[in-house]
Symmetry: C2
Subunit: 278 residues, 2 copies
């Protein structure tokens, strides 16, 4: 079976970087799971003895702690350092940027608006860099703006890296109409959307499509749904053990893509298996 | 005939202010016509001996020169001062603001984008405050952006005060998608749109409507067209001499509004005449 990979798939730049960092610090521990993929976490544990802490209070003196791509709140970082932990910061540079923007704009007396999910670790981290926490506001929808009271008529806005640009613009437009100055930082990362665009393109040129990723992962499910629109024979699997040779009968070209938490070695195993079918 | 005035009509804040300034400087001259209304210019000449220069080079030593609401380019102001003219600045504060924004943002290494008409005196004045003239760009349409090369990936935007917000947002949205930071200053003045909204409201509750203003004035024609949508008997006149008593036969309520260059005394004459009809 001939296989074609999507032009973009799997890990984004920030996750690849974080895993390389983890591989270069044997015996370190991550604060929270590094990615949403248990196989990859097991591999890091087995090959590099990378451990996992769920709570700050569990950290022991002189531990080496890897901060994951989402980043962590400013005070958590301070507490880690106070515990004499050696801190290795694998925060994605695309997340460090909004953290620094919030810090700087807040100092310059801008009210801060974050477009994102208040419960997401990335947003919690970014939010924590505001000097005046009462004037750091988080919204998910343009309609959420109505309830807000900004302290200044100068607003600085940033967005969670994985959010949709269209909705960010809606929110920004509403702010522009009501405020003298809106300083708009485009902090949205294209990685998620590049994987989606590539899946859309590939699925319309193959006759069978395999999507690899967690069955509970929202970005993987999204990829699967996009592929099904163009290619009715699109299958979602977590790894090569779930492949079924019947899917490839009378097919000539199989497209493969993977969710943002799927490591390359799992993808490679799937590619090898699919290629072995007649 | 009963008369009802629109809740907003005629001169905006900036023009009213400029005329008051002109009235308080007898024997001064304006650089260019203060407003697009010859009757008002004649009145200022007759009552306060306010003259009119068309060209900078005509200014004589020790003249008192009134800068009109649009403002003038920075170098023209410098030249006037070099000629020992006494300069009275009647630039509308809503125009001084974008001038100062362009000056400051340009110094802070932002590329400048102006949404407006490159030939309009206001825009020429605002543009002149950019430090690097090659990096001050003027667009009228979102599609104009394609041809531009910004020197920085930080853009500061301002709009000509009389432009439409909807189109400004379109332009700003396009910039946000392509640049890391867009600093959006909402410099649009509501006066024109407040007159239009008030005309829309009033024309739908009266049975005859009179719009006063220059027959070549685009904002007056716009008011007339809005009124006609709601009230078929809407008439455009330049002053009370053009009123026709037939218009008011069998009518009970006459609405009156006026373009942005129509002085109150002309409006009052029309109101008096219409009220005198049975």
């Amino acid at each position: 079976m001939k296989v074609k990979l999507a032009s973009n798939y799997g890990f984004c730049f920030g996750v690849k970087r974080a895993i390389k960092i983890a591989e270069s610090y044997e015996n370190a521990s991550t604060m929270g799971p590094l990615i949403h993929n248990q196989d990859e976490i097991n591999r890091l544990k087995n090959d590099y003895n990378v451990g996992l802490y769920k709570e700050l209070k569990d950290v022991k003196d002189n531990d080496t702690i890897i901060i994951r791509t989402h980043g962590i709140p400013k005070d958590d970082l301070k507490n880690l350092k106070a515990q004499n932990a050696k801190v290795i910061n694998a925060t994605c540079p695309f997340v460090t940027t909004p953290q620094q923007i919030v810090k700087k704009m807040s100092k310059e007396d801008y009210s801060i608006l974050i477009f994102g999910d208040a419960d997401h670790p990335e947003v919690k981290g970014v939010q924590s860099y505001g000097q005046d926490q009462e004037d750091v506001h988080i919204v998910l929808e343009p309609s959420d703006l109505e309830a807000l009271n900004f302290k200044h008529n100068k607003i600085a806005t940033i967005a969670q890296t994985t959010k949709k640009k269209e909705k960010y613009l809606e929110i920004v437009n509403s702010l522009i109409l009501k405020n003298k100055e809106v300083r708009v930082f485009n902090t949205i990362c294209d990685a998620t959307f590049e994987n989606q665009d590539a899946a859309r393109e590939l699925s319309s040129e193959v006759d069978v499509m395999v999507v690899i990723g967690g069955k509970n992962s929202s970005n993987t499910k999204q990829l699967h749904s996009i592929c099904k629109e163009n290619c009715i024979d699109s299958y979602l699997i977590e790894n090569e053990s779930e492949l079924d040779s019947k899917w490839f009968e009378n097919k000539t070209l199989c497209g493969i893509t993977a969710g943002a938490s799927t490591p390359d070695w799992i993808i490679q195993q799937v590619v090898n298996s699919v290629e072995s079918y007649n």
